[in-house]
């Protein structure tokens, strides 16, 4: 396969090739080979799969064991006035309805809703004291995706695309696999490139659609299109565009567009194969849970994520749960009945993904991040649910560059607020960029008078979780 730079030189026929790489790369900083693809230092991670649990996973019912809840169960010790962002006044302290047990050598506590992930805790690094600046879904989802609580900022995937570009020109650099039941809160704005060039935005793939990449091929109802017609049309287009560019030799944008048609043609050739999970073995399909209704959908998307990173997509984001009152992690009404089905959707597929990445050697340069937009209250909402809580929640990291079996930070005895080793999205993002060989303070884009960063003016690399 031609490398990115070689390809550019070839396609531009030597004309203004330096300037061309400037414009294609210029909006991409592009990693340096001597740094293992990193921008500022040696990269440990080259590809990322982010598993985003939409709605706010209840930390004290999954990974953040709080025996104190059982002791104080039923006591009205919460805030008297409704805190900003919560949807109701706090009810009584509510213990977790699930059993917790310690797992692995690290002795990590995991509730009974995640029996599969419990077996891999020694490979994961837990951020036990993540906090958000908001307890409202919209701003909270923006924050975890873009580092800002307001709309209009580029998400992490877009920043990574901008910084490092693609590992393969045959697939989009940044792919989003939303829950087929619906988009998350903020709709597609969570995947926006915002003020970065629009090519860095997330390509939304409907895993069930044919073809999954939008506009990959023309609708067959148009007789003037089709494989041969497309090839002939492209040949003539490129001839015409090259003649035009030759008459305007100082404009690299013209060359960039010529190159992008070459890339489009390559994507047409390789994307259908990449998205065809029918090529996987029955054993793999079973491992991901494709033959069980509860796990089928999330399993398919996890498997797709693996196929994509394997083929050079840099960043894949897999969402669990649409926006709305049901079928997601926003369990206001009843933790005992609403949480287990969500957990069952994702638990087995997640572990299948981790095992698969390891078996294929992809774990050596792939990072998996499991997260959500905020946590939930130790105080009941109604009598059985839990309300939004930006005070504390859990994220875990797995894979390249990560020290397994450790937990960083902790929340208070009830799990209401993060108290020690508090980390915000800025720190998580700084750490992820660090693993990619990027200094988060140096990855900037000038917008409205400010050198914008994914981490705003914050962010510390969380050294404790690094291998």
């Amino acid at each position: 396969m031609l490398s990115r730079r070689n390809f550019l030189t070839h396609s531009a026929g030597g004309i203004a090739s330096v300037a061309l790489s400037h414009i294609l790369a210029g909006e991409t900083l592009a990693g340096l080979p001597e740094l293992n693809g990193g921008l500022h230092h040696r990269a440990k991670v080259k590809r990322i799969i982010q598993l985003f649990m939409n709605g706010g996973v209840s930390q004290m019912d999954t990974f953040d064991y709080k025996p104190e809840l059982a002791k104080q169960h039923g006591q009205m010790s919460g805030p008297k006035e409704k805190p900003e962002g919560q949807t109701a006044v706090a009810g009584a302290v509510m213990k977790s309805p699930f059993e917790f047990a310690q797992h692995g050598q690290s002795g990590r506590w995991v509730s009974s809703v995640f029996p599969h992930q419990a077996k891999r805790v020694d490979e994961m690094a837990f951020l036990m004291a993540m906090a958000s600046k908001t307890s409202v879904h919209g701003p909270g989802s923006y924050m975890m995706n873009t580092g800002f609580i307001l709309p209009g900022f580029p998400c992490m995937g877009a920043w990574i695309s901008y910084a490092l570009g693609s590992l393969s020109e045959e697939l989009p650099t940044f792919i989003v696999l939303p829950d087929p039941r619906g988009l998350p809160y903020n709709q597609k704005a969570n995947f926006s490139a915002a003020f970065l060039p629009s090519r860095h935005q997330g390509t939304i793939i409907n895993a069930a659609a044919v073809p999954p990449v939008p506009n990959l091929f023309a609708d067959k109802k148009h007789a003037f299109t089709g494989a041969e017609a497309d090839r002939d049309a492209l040949a003539l287009l490129q001839k015409m565009n090259r003649q035009h560019a030759a008459a305007h030799p100082d404009d690299t944008r013209l060359d960039a567009r010529i190159a992008s048609y070459e890339l489009a043609a390559r994507m047409q050739l390789s994307a259908p194969e990449a998205f065809d999970i029918g090529r996987e073995t029955p054993a793999t399909r079973t491992a991901y849970g494709l033959d069980a209704p509860a796990t089928e959908d999330f399993g398919r998307r996890c498997l797709l994520a693996r196929r994509l990173v394997e083929r050079g997509t840099r960043f894949v984001q897999v969402w669990s749960g649409p926006q709305g009152a049901v079928q997601n992690w926003d369990n206001h009404g009843n933790i005992q009945t609403e949480l287990p089905p969500m957990a069952a959707n994702v638990d087995q597929p997640i572990v299948a993904l981790l095992d698969d990445l390891k078996a294929r050697g992809l774990a050596d340069d792939t990072l998996v991040v499991w997260t959500t937009e905020f946590g939930r209250t130790p105080y009941a909402q109604g009598s059985l649910g839990r309300d939004h809580n930006g005070g504390t929640f859990v994220t875990w990291l797995w894979g390249a560059g990560i020290k397994g079996g450790i937990a960083h930070g902790s929340s208070d005895d009830l799990g209401f607020k993060a108290v020690q080793g508090v980390t915000y999205c800025y720190d998580l993002h700084a750490t992820i960029l660090h693993l990619l060989g990027i200094n988060h303070e140096k990855l900037t884009f000038r917008q409205s008078g400010i050198d914008r960063r994914l981490t705003d003016v914050h962010g510390h690399v969380i050294g404790e979780v690094l291998a």
Binding site: E84, L150, N186, V213, F224, T225, D232, A233
Partner: protein, 965 residues
Amino acid sequence: MRYGVLIALTAATSALAVDFAREVRPILERNCYGCHGPEKQKSGYRLDVREVALKGGESGDAAIVPHSAAKSPLIRYVSGEDEEMLMPPKKSDKARLTAAEVETLRAWIDAGPAWPDEFAGAKDTKPHWSLLPLVKPTVPAGAAHPIDAFILARLAEKKLTPSPPVDPRTLLRRMTYDLTGLPPSPEEVDQFAKAGADRVLSALNAQLSTNRYGERWARHWLDTIHFADTHGFEHDDMRPNAWRFRDYVVESMNRDTPWARFVREQLAADAFFPEDTRLTAALGFLGAGTYDSSAAGTAPMSFEYLDRDDLVTQTMAAFVSTTANCARCHAHKFDPITQEDYFALQAVFAGVGKGDVSYDDDAAVAKQRRHWQGLKDAAEKRDAAVLLAAENVALVEAWEKTRGAGDAWKPMLLETFLSAEGATLERLADGSVLSSGATPDKDTLTITATTTVGELTALRLDLLTDDSLPMKGPGRATNGNVHLSEFELQVFRPGAGKPEKVPFRRASSDFDQTGYEVGKSIDGDAKSSWAIHPSVGMPHFAVYELRAPVKLEPGAKLVVTLRQLQGGSHLVGRCKLSATAAPAVSLLAVPAEAETALHTPAANRTQSQQLAIAGFVLRARADDELAKLPPMVQVWAAGRVAKNERGVITLAEPRTIRLLKRGDLDKPGDVVPPGALLNARFDLPNAKDEAARRAALADWISDPRNPLTWRSVVNRVWHYHFGRGLCDTPSDFGKMGGAPSHPELLDWLAVWFRDDAHGSLKALHRLILTSATYQQSSAPNAAASALDPDNRLLWRMNRTRLDADSIRDSVLAMSGRLDLAMGGPSVPHYTSKPGPQTTPTLNYENFDWATPGAARRSIYRVVWRGIADPFLDALDFPDMGQLSPVRGFSASPLQSLALLNNEFVLHHCEHLAERAGGIPAAFQRVLQRDATPEELADFTALATKHGLPAAVRVLFNSNEFLFLN
């Protein structure tokens, strides 16, 4: 006396005085200036400038408290008392201050601190270019056109020369796209090439006079202020009334509203032009940005703060190219904007909330509404000055003359009556119905009756007393009360299979229990009702006027339903129904007070009696007149009163705005009054008048002396014509923004636009487009490129790629499909179905481009903030979550796939192929030129093999089409 004290103080402290220059400054220089001096100002703090050193940095707290070293953070930091804030910090390679040095500083502060003027330092000696007062520079010699003169002068400095004039085809393409966002037709190109010397002026005047101009330039403004049709955020709901603002902008551009007026209308049309209610649409500016309805409900404090922040950011960026929002958390790091300035701007908007604002689209209607609403208010207040004014006395007298005598009411002939819950009903001799027996908790009484009235205008319900009822009634509750939840009427026409529901216009009664007015018996809400407590033991009545008279043919039956659903057996005890054909106004149930007054001969009435009658009659008349007016329309904006998902929100007075330390809601500081930049604070007679605050800001912005406003607008226009502004950051004229390439030209244009053109954008376009600078070629020139590779000096025209809207509109225009219908609700380019919550699920892929309205210009499409149109997105239509003063350029495989395979393109390839009929005409439509022989051969071969649309598809993807030379 004051001087005496000062001298005494100085004398008293002089003995202890530490010499600043010899003792203090060297300590600061050695230990502090590295991070807090001329080079760096960490945390916005510097110790080499007296003003900043004393006042403190971003934290907002004074670093040095006069006469108190103990209270001065500076001492706590350098001494290590505040370990966390130890200075120099542990991490730095600098050593801590010695104890002696700390003592010197302590003594210096305790004694003053004395900081002589000659060492005061200066933050910045010269104001930033954008803040310098506007002075019209002299036009350099060398060219007839002032723009060319300025450009030539700068080129000459670099020994550069401008490029030759561009060919007519390219020029017309450039001009037509610039002014209208559409391509010229092949015929127009042909005529232009043949036309005489004045062709540029006549072509641009023609383009400026079409409505296509306003559609094009409105889009630029909507980008600049991040206007969209939906909220963004968690609940990305449609704003069905946002389009009225979009139409306002299109109209303003076409009408060429002078810029100062454009500013005033958008910020405070209600304050400046209250009579012209149509301009309320302009206030859509205030609602242009995002809106987090979820946070509005659950996190109101941070919501209001950030929502106002968005509006402040938008206003200051759009009108004065300033990033005021940078001062939200600390004084602006680069520009002279303090946190106080920022919060003063928040205070300007502290009296409005986002939502639909109602207004009359017709000023004459608004005038009527004001008149009758005023009369209604006066009636409620019993305002004698108004009610007894001659014109109103005449209205009352006329009413009294037409007032129906008792015989206007014809008793209805009851045929059947039925209690749903089994109460015993009995018809009495006077035609009334008496209820007895079972006393259910709730009941519904259904009466079928006929009437001799031919054209029914109203029904009268009499609630009568009876000795058999508790407290003599008229109700059956133990206290004699009755609650009538709903009063309904249906007509059964002879031969008709089912009854027709007859709506009521108004209900009136002789008495209402507080909170249970008679109107509640026709409000469709079973939970509200009419009741008469404590006026029990006496009869009462209500009159129900029909929305429109109903003709009753012989045999028609009336079905009256009395729903009594309050519970507690608040049931009708005895009632009677009558009907009338009399005109409505004469029918009102007259309240007891007025009824008594009416029995007194007019000449003998006291003023209080006159007012009782007039108040009642005029209120009813006002209600009648108001009901006749066409309904108000709405625009999504922000106002003191605005309707959103939480209902109609009214702010009695502006919220109090406090400076927030570090921008933190938990750290409120002093109250900040409304104002603007550079410490401008508005002196308003009534602090509670929120519109006056917005008007004051509009005045500040549109003031001829404001150095930013006029530079901002001319630079924006320049940006859209040349692909880059003279200052290349059109919404940021601060120190982080670009420096102008031609500061004199920018200033000259700003003054000319303000004074000579009187703020006319069209005049500015004319000026720019008639310059040789604009009309020069964009062809390469290696020698010039070597000297000015970026073309900052404009030795040639910049080549620009068509923006997303122009590409889409061109495809429509070229294929002969463009629908030029203007205005109205935004057009969807997707199909939608309900989503999990209020945001629908959109499908852009299965949209049928033959749908009526689908071929209208892009300015009229629904711009969904969170669910952007993937096709226009791929062509760099901006994310409307943020202000977009500049459109981006990108090239990607996904963009190429969109242009090749998107259904919109393919659908119109077929239309253009059909319209053109052959390769030559297709080239003319798309590129406005003939195909070369080689092209003709190539394209003909492709078309022969795959069809003519295949050739059109290539043209739509060609760089020659997508770029303007």
